[in-house]
């Protein structure tokens, strides 16, 4: 079945989720994976959806018009076959916490250390906290270390960044207990 990624963003208010999911339910859509959260003052939804009767974006026609009329932005991405299936990742999961006075480039420089080494980021959240005069940036990142990468190596890269960016960084392995 054809799958689509649906992204919906709008000023946060009660009722967005019920409005969106009612539209999907009435339209005969299935929701597979989804993630929704408040970012700033916006509520953002990302959902993988499918509908047995719909195989192209054009067939959505005006399904989401009412949502757009209520000030939600709607974007549909057509997935390639198999694009709804997560690929298997192997390795050790590690968590990196970065926090400090806000400055440009914190996310980029940390991500670059990982991306340059082909390390997959599996989860990332950032939040600007603190007061306006002294904003504090907090980033929580999970990455999958390939077999030949030790957590101590990650720590050493981050140690350099700590000095460069003048932020605090901690790296720890994330143990999943299989029970």
């Amino acid at each position: 079945m054809q799958h689509f990624a649906l992204t919906i963003i709008g000023r946060d208010r009660p009722g967005i989720v019920s409005q969106v999911t009612e539209t999907l339910f009435q339209g005969g859509f299935n929701i597979a994976d989804s993630s929704c959260s408040i970012l700033g003052g916006q509520f953002s939804m990302i959902l993988i959806i499918s509908n047995p009767d719909i195989s192209t974006k054009e067939e959505f026609s005006d399904t989401f018009t009412p949502l757009e009329e209520s000030n939600l932005s709607v974007y549909i991405r057509t997935l390639k076959p198999g694009g709804e299936i997560r690929s298997e990742l192997e390795g050790e999961l590690c968590m990196i916490s970065v926090y400090g006075a806000d400055k440009p480039g914190i996310v980029y420089q940390v991500a670059k250390e990982l991306g340059d080494r082909n390390i997959n980021i599996t989860d990332l959240n950032t939040k600007l906290v603190g007061d306006k005069q002294k904003p504090v940036y907090v980033m929580m990142l999970e990455a999958m270390l390939p077999e030949n990468t030790e957590i101590e190596e990650v720590e050493s890269w981050m140690e350099e960044l700590k000095q460069k960016l003048q932020v605090d960084i901690s790296v720890r392995s994330l143990v999943v207990m299989e029970l």
Binding site: D33, R86, L89, L93, M144, V175, V176, M177, E178, L179
Partner: protein, 168 residues
Amino acid sequence: MAVKEVLVYPDSRLKKNCAPIVSFDESVEQLLQDLVDTMVDAGHSVGIAAPQLGDLRRAAVVDVSKSKLGKKQENHGLLQMVNPEIIEKEGSQIVREGCMSVPEYTGNVTRFESIIIQFLDQNQQLQVIRAEGFEAIAIQHELDHLDGFLFLDRVSSLKTDLFRRKQK
């Protein structure tokens, strides 16, 4: 020796409150053996509870001594527990748990850091032990199964399980 099939949610037996074992007969010995065999066969598992095999009696086994991180900590090796009960608990720790009965998901769960449990062992002896760290987590997870709780009932956030699980 019998490796049993591990029930997977939504099997309703996983949500049942299990009954205390009143008479310690041969069927209990058999159950404990099945639990140990199935846990060992599952490879990655450090514990399993009777309801995961479809047996709604209060029994569970735990062995963290073979796991990569469990063996770094002090532990009691193989624990075979009948009518286990947590009688004291303290501290808290957060751990990301996965469960054989809920494949594909892991979630962050808060558990007590240290517990004292009492149970009847495989020789019908009353044991009272203190467990900490990984062993304490494993015991709490298995005891939850006896009350019909899955880690999904305790979780604060869900993550997709990124690990390739051992195939039988």
